[in-house]
């Protein structure tokens, strides 16, 4: 289990715990062009949603870890957690649409007291459920049986593991995280996850451990599959490579390590127009722990609500939401750099 965890920005009262301060800090960096200009040059402005395929529900900021790069500023000291009432509003919204997939995230979503009930209700609606799991939570005493729960409800497990080896994983996520993560992966494998036959899909997600973009997703996936099986006998279905967006705790680390300007400038230089059609803000809608709606989980953390009268899941109106423009700011360069980055990994 993670030892020596740090307090969140919020608990420390750090200036960058404020979304406005984060946006202002990003605006102070000299860059060649703004995101709308980059999209305009690519013939992609304004940015509009495509068909809504995924509802991503962030059920809270409570987490058993305090990862150094966390864009949610999650941790054990956070208290924000989605209520059962808000979850019921999500279920009502979903029942009236053709949205087929629900992506549960946090924090550690499993730490929401209504998590299992929500999963059962979503599966009862016949929806595909993805759980963004930090793996170590599966090794904690009250949650060890989640492995069987996931298998029983055929939940897709999308598990964070920043590096195939311990050094980088523990540096980003806390001492002991790698060991606990490997133990959890072995237990997931034991019930059929990642075997390619059971239909129990196990995806690993890697974020770079530092101020650089991820490498080629297909190349890394092949290496990880070979290495995790060779060293630990672990199998998984796919690897998603995600870029770190310069917000929240990763922004704080960029600033204190002296990497902020060069990282943001690199993201701008690496803008790839081909990533735009596949951006997650186009086919995914993000719900905050309090029910407010956002274009993505990053906009949620920056408190950039959807540009629509439909600002809350209780007033969900798909037709109205499809008319909106996606709200953008400088952090969006993180999703369009290189091969692109979304909740489903690289987009090109």
């Amino acid at each position: 289990m993670a030892r020596g965890t740090l307090p969140s920005l919020a608990a420390r009262g750090a200036p960058l715990s404020s979304p406005a301060a984060q946006l202002a800090r990003l605006r102070a960096v000299p860059i060649d062009r703004e995101f709308p200009e980059a999209l305009t040059r690519a013939g992609r402005w304004p940015l509009r949603p495509s068909r809504l395929e995924i509802l991503q529900i962030n059920v809270g900021k409570v987490c058993n870890q305090t990862c150094r790069h966390c864009h949610v500023d999650a941790g054990p000291d956070r208290t924000e957690s989605m209520s059962r009432e808000t979850m019921e509003q999500c279920l009502r919204a979903l029942a009236g649409t053709e949205i087929a997939t629900v992506d549960l995230t946090g924090g550690a979503p499993e730490l929401n007291p209504h998590f299992r009930w929500l999963v059962e209700e979503l599966r009862g609606l016949g929806l595909h459920v993805m759980d963004r799991c930090n793996l170590t939570v599966l090794q904690t005493a009250p949650h060890r049986d989640l492995v069987d729960f996931f298998a029983r409800h055929r939940v897709e497990v999308v598990a964070s593991l920043p590096h195939v080896r311990a050094l980088g994983t523990d540096r980003q996520r806390g001492e002991g995280v790698y060991e606990a993560s490997i133990a959890a992966l072995k237990r997931l494998n034991a019930v059929g996850y990642g075997d390619g036959r059971s239909g129990l899909r196990l995806v690993l997600v890697t974020n770079p451990v530092g101020a650089f973009l991820p490498g080629n997703q297909a190349s890394l996936e092949a290496e990880w599959k070979r290495e995790l099986f060779r060293v630990h006998g672990i199998r998984f279905d796919a690897l998603y490579t995600l870029a770190n967006l310069p917000i929240s705790r990763f922004l704080e680390w960029l600033e204190t390590s002296g990497n902020l300007e060069s990282y943001l400038q690199h993201l701008v230089q690496a803008f790839n127009p081909a990533t735009v059609p596949g951006l997650m803000c186009r086919n995914t809608l993000s719900v905050g722990w309090d029910g407010r709606l956002y274009d993505c989980d990053f906009n949620q953390m920056l408190e950039l609500g959807v540009d629509s009268p439909v600002g809350h899941i209780a007033r969900f109106d798909l037709a109205a939401l499809e008319q909106r423009e996606v709200r953008v700011a400088r952090h969006c360069f993180g999703c369009t750099a290189g091969a692109g980055s979304s909740c489903g990994g690289a987009v090109t």
């Binding site: 195939v164 080896r165 973009l213 490498g215 080629n216 092949a222 290496e223 990880w224």
Partner: protein, 113 residues
């Protein structure tokens, strides 16, 4: 001191493509070949990046060291693996020097009584 009076400037790494402003045909051949060399093949992109990092240290090129330190991290290597790669370069360089000691001995034996 005028910063341009130094031989190495880290910003110059970004200017590498400028080499193609003259005889662009030759630069194109080089960059096309270079790209193909580092693609996944019988060796993975990560393995090639670690080889490049080791060679960068052997030829003591600061541009290459910076470029392939970043690239090795991107390709999924960690600091243990990168350090081992540098030790490989150092071992070959050291071993090569020591191996040439045999040449020294041969020469000394020829000249000596």
């Amino acid at each position: 001191m005028d910063p341009r009076l130094h031989y190495f400037h880290c910003d110059d790494l970004q200017r590498f493509p400028e080499i193609g402003e003259n005889r662009g045909d030759l630069a194109k051949k080089f960059f096309d070949w270079y790209g193909a060399v580092f693609a996944d093949g019988a060796l993975s992109a990560r393995e090639k990046s670690l080889i490049a990092l080791a060679v960068a240290h052997a030829v003591q090129c600061p541009y290459c060291i910076e470029a392939y330190s970043t690239d090795a991290l991107r390709q999924g290597a960690d600091l243990d693996q990168m350090t081992e790669a540098v030790h490989v370069a150092a071992a070959i360089r050291g071993g090569s020097s020591l191996m040439h000691g045999v040449q020294m001995r041969n020469h000394a034996e020829r000249l000596g009584m």
